[in-house]
């Protein structure tokens, strides 16, 4: 069960987008689901220990522009980042 604290512990939130986003044209239900495993597990990530989680938020924002998505908010844990997106 979630508690109200979940509203105040985002690691990133775009209040401007949250306030102005209009989904009137979002008519299509079925989603496109893309999953890429770059390596079989985290222990196989090469180099100096940099991983996907070291990609800055603003870089993800620019990549997602190509998808026509914007970042509404992010929750992070020690093991992953969960992005909530527009559309």
């Amino acid at each position: 069960t979630i508690s109200i604290t979940e509203l105040t512990n985002h690691s990133y939130i775009d209040h401007q987008l949250s306030a102005t986003l209009d989904s009137t044209e979002a008519f299509e239900g079925p989603e496109k689901l893309l999953e890429i495993w770059f390596f079989p597990h985290v222990g196989k990530v090469p180099g100096e220990g940099k991983t996907l989680r070291d990609v800055p938020v603003e870089t993800w924002v620019s990549i997602l522009q190509l998808v026509k998505c914007e970042v509404l908010s992010i929750k992070s844990t020690p093991e992953m980042d969960a992005f909530l997106l527009s559309e």
Binding site: T1, L7, Y12, Q16, E25, I36, F38, K68, K75, L84
Partner: protein
Amino acid sequence: SSMFIYPHRMTLKTCGTTTTLFCLPRLFEILHELLGWDFRNEEEGKFEPFKVFYSRRAFMFPSKQKSIHRNWGDEVDYLNAFFCSGKSYVVGRFDDRKHWNLYVTDTKEQDEQVAAVEESPAVEDETFEILMTGLDPECTEQFVSHRQVSAEPQPLGQPQERTNDDADDDGHLLGYSMTRKTGLDNVYNTASANSRDAEFHHDAFAFSPCGYSSNMIVDNHYYYTLHVTPEKGWSYASFESNVPVSEISNDRQDNVDVLRKVLNVFRPREFCLTFFAKSAGNKNFDSLQQFASKSRLYEKKERIIYDLEDYQLLYIRFERK
């Protein structure tokens, strides 16, 4: 829409008329620039990460999609031009536009020493997806917010890092309320798992005029995500999860129980489920197929099992009796 980033893998799930595959060239370029990751197979002139999955149910309005996304064949051509050794599947009847599409690459070969290390349980992976249409109007009403969006844009500026006024954000506040009201935060019985409360984080948004998206993180590592389009005439809801239900609930729950809870929130006229796991020995393969033969509310219309090299896939489509 949602995106999940782990150190070594990512999942991007996008609704509407998004152009998901068009991020691929820039994504691989950035990973090379920032992380030094180079997945180019020089011999074939394509990219070869460890594993790629791309899937979607047949669109309701394919002609409104953009470019390659109007047609599954064009998407597959694009993927095949980008990745090595891809295979595509049309799962279910092609003629009634209720089928499901899957593209998957061969698993990149590892050397023998690495393969031996990968026999560890940490590599175990499963994904459960439920795609529902024809939602009960009483249920969809719970996902209509009636909130007003700002007519005037907020002052321009950079999106803010964590602030203290998050609770003033109506979209997130209403999303939180919808989650609580519908019980979608109680899909998994994590609290009773190991006499401890598994860490649980939640992020939801109520769109205007309607619609809902949420991400739930279980035990810091697993997620489940829901997306709801409640409009009458083309209502749709999806549930996708990589939570290993048996493990997280200490065998007190299975995916049939998860399925029942989700169906109870939306009461769809039709739905299909897909379940991926590394091994056909996964108990959920049996229990989900038993549900198909025993359900009093739903009738199984199709059941397909695919052996996808190192994954097993179960697909079942149901209609309300």
